[in-house]
Amino acid sequence: MLEIKNLHANVAGKPILKGLNLSIGAGEVHAIMGPNGAGKSTLGNVIAGRDGYEVTAGEVLYNGKDILGLEPDERACEGIFLAFQYPVEIPGVNNTYFLRAALNAQRKYRGEPELDSMQFLKLVREKLKILHIDDDLMHRAVNEGFSGGEKKRNEIFQMAVLEPSLAILDETDSGLDIDALRLVAEGVNRQRSAERSIIVVTHYQRLLDYIVPDFVHVLAGGRIVASGGADLAEKLEAQGYAWLERGGIGKLDVEIRA
């Protein structure tokens, strides 16, 4: 589903990703962990196509298609969703209006008929119910004045409505207390399916207690330096990232990709 080969990317002229390889199959949940500054958020932004993230080498294939030449909105329409670490507040834009415009833009791209307001409302009610979100959210401006938890839940709600085939959750746990974290994780878990791949980018193992990944990768120095199963996250939590710098990779019983 997603093939990242030898990806190099610069931010403001500075190399951040230095030969990253990653392969994600349909329906799999991959966690990407790593120390601060390792390039975790850069990876999400490069896949989503953000300006200022310059790919200098390598390729990103999505369903066999090279997406690096596509605009961010085209990538979204191809089924890629980025849940932001810091969701943007957009005063003056109503959540319902925005989400319907986004969904219809995607449907139009895919040659599907656009949803009228009644059909859209029905879909929204259904999704709100599944995620146990109050419909008050739909009457507010996008993320404006939302608490940290509300913002993250709004991201997950958008994901539920847009139904991407690949969701990248960028530090979705940051700024959340344990109750909010659990709610957000439940929202994600309800959306796991055989057709939907998920990349969970996180600094801490805590989120992975709730969203249990199929694979865990350690990103350091712009590359994946270790990969393993869900248990790798626990080892990382116990030992910290410092062992990477001490050259202690060998202490971990994991496959090393370089």
């Binding site: 979204a76 329409c77 847009l162």
Partner: protein
């Protein structure tokens, strides 16, 4: 003085004002016209050294060198569809002058020509006409307007009457390059209510010099909506001078979406306690448009409040000027003043000059002001695009949202929708 195009034009206009022939009028009006003519002849047109006109050079108007008297020629009809407000009573003022009185006016509401008003409301017309300062080059267009005072209309709403909505349509129809003066007075008796919609449209090269004077008696309420999407060549030199008695409420909401050279002076004087003014507006400029909005609120009585809330969107090589002034006079204690002007520059060649001015001579005053000029938040653009919105749509959505603090003030849903569509149509295309 050297004969520049400006001084030549001013001399020509002064001559034209001196020799103009008007219908028979009371002596005070003839005096007023003469004095205004003399004031204009002495002061001439504003130039760069006149602070209030510093950013708005009148070169383009001089190049056009319009005459002051309307020349009869084939009118180009103006299409006002879609109607701004279907439930409003329409009052047409082609080129600024009332031609016919609408038949379906509610009880207690009158719309009169200036000459009829001089009979029925002479004292009030006189006091309003005489209240307009005409001295100095900064007030040249007020002087011309007063020197020329005979075209326009007077609206009157009797005590306690809720007049509903009146739509004043200023169609720019003449094809000659005239500077057409128009005076509109809106007299609201105590407790009267009115929604006044002022609409300007048309492709005529004629320049309109409109002076609108709302007079709100005690506890009167006026909602004044202004919508103009004149063509790129149009000149609009408009002024709104409101006076408010105790307990009155004046809400102005303006949308300047067109015009080549636009200057609007919006003033209100809070003369009685507990008078409130909420002044809001948005301008959307593209191409070479120039828009100069000057707002001034005079707090002359205690316990009044005023708000100035203005938003500007500028693309192309357009230029915007905003000057927001609030004066709180001695003794006007308990006044509350809020000022906010924010601008969005969508092009590197667009320019905005904004200046808030607060002058406070009273105690116990609550005042806040803020002025900003910025660009669209690129993170927000990216955020919307990651949800599937194409770039142009994302930018339009964010730009429209920027004006939302103004557009949300339009209560009537159908009217708000029409205004939203007009704003959308006015948005700079090349971003």
């Amino acid at each position: 003085m050297n004969a520049t195009p400006a001084t030549e034009l001013a001399a020509r206009w002064a001559d034209s004002l001196r020799t103009a022939v008007y219908p028979v009028a009371p002596a005070w009006l003839e005096n007023l016209r003469e004095n205004a003519t003399a004031a204009f002849a002495e002061a001439g047109l504003p130039h760069r050294k006149v602070e209030a006109w510093r950013y708005t050079p009148l070169k383009r108007l001089e190049a056009l060198a319009p005459g002051l008297a309307p020349v009869a020629d084939a009118p180009s009809p103006v299409d006002f569809a879609p109607a701004l407000c279907k439930k409003a009573t329409v009052v047409d003022l082609p080129d600024g002058n009332l031609e016919s009185i609408p038949a379906d006016l509610p009880e207690g509401v009158s719309v009169l020509s200036m000459s009829e008003a001089l009979v029925r409301f002479e004292d009030r017309v006189r006091s309003l006409a005489e209240s307009v300062p005409v001295d100095g080059p900064a007030r040249a267009f007020a002087a011309i307007n007063t020197a020329n005072l005979h075209r326009g209309a007077v609206v009157h709403v009797a005590e306690g009457v809720d007049a509903g909505s009146l739509l004043l349509r200023f169609a720019a129809e003449g094809s000659a390059s005239d500077l057409l003066s128009s005076r509109v007075m809106v007299l609201l008796d105590a407790g009267a209510r009115l929604t006044l919609i002022e609409q300007h449209r048309g492709a005529s090269p004629a320049a309109l010099n409109l002076l609108l004077q709302p007079q709100l008696a005690e506890n009167a309420r006026l909602a004044h909506l202004r919508v103009q999407d004149r063509d790129d060549e149009a000149f609009l030199l408009t002024a709104t001078h409101a006076v408010q008695a105790a307990g009155s409420h004046y809400a102005f909401c303006g949308f300047d979406l067109g015009g080549g050279l636009l200057r609007h002076e919006l003033n209100t004087t809070l003369n009685g306690e507990e008078a409130h003014a909420e002044l809001a507006g948005a301008w959307v400029l593209d191409g070479q448009r120039h828009c100069d909005i000057r707002v001034a609120v005079d707090h002359a009585a205690p316990n009044c409040s005023s708000e100035q809330f203005f938003r500007g969107v500028l693309g192309g090589r357009s230029r915007g000027v905003f000057n927001g002034r609030a004066l709180i006079r001695e003794g006007a204690d308990g006044s509350s003043v809020r000022q906010s002007n924010a601008n969005l520059l969508l092009s590197r060649l667009a320019e905005m000059d904004t200046k808030p001015e607060l002058e406070i001579y009273a105690d116990e005053v609550e005042a806040s002001h803020g002025a900003t000029v910025g660009q669209l938040d690129e993170t927000a653009v990216f955020y919307l695009r990651t949800r599937g919105l194409p770039e142009a749509e994302a930018r339009r959505l964010l730009t429209a949202a920027f004006c939302q603090g103004v557009t949300s003030r339009v209560d009537d849903a159908a009217l708000a929708e029409t205004v939203a569509q007009m704003i959308d149509a006015a948005m700079p295309g090349a971003m």
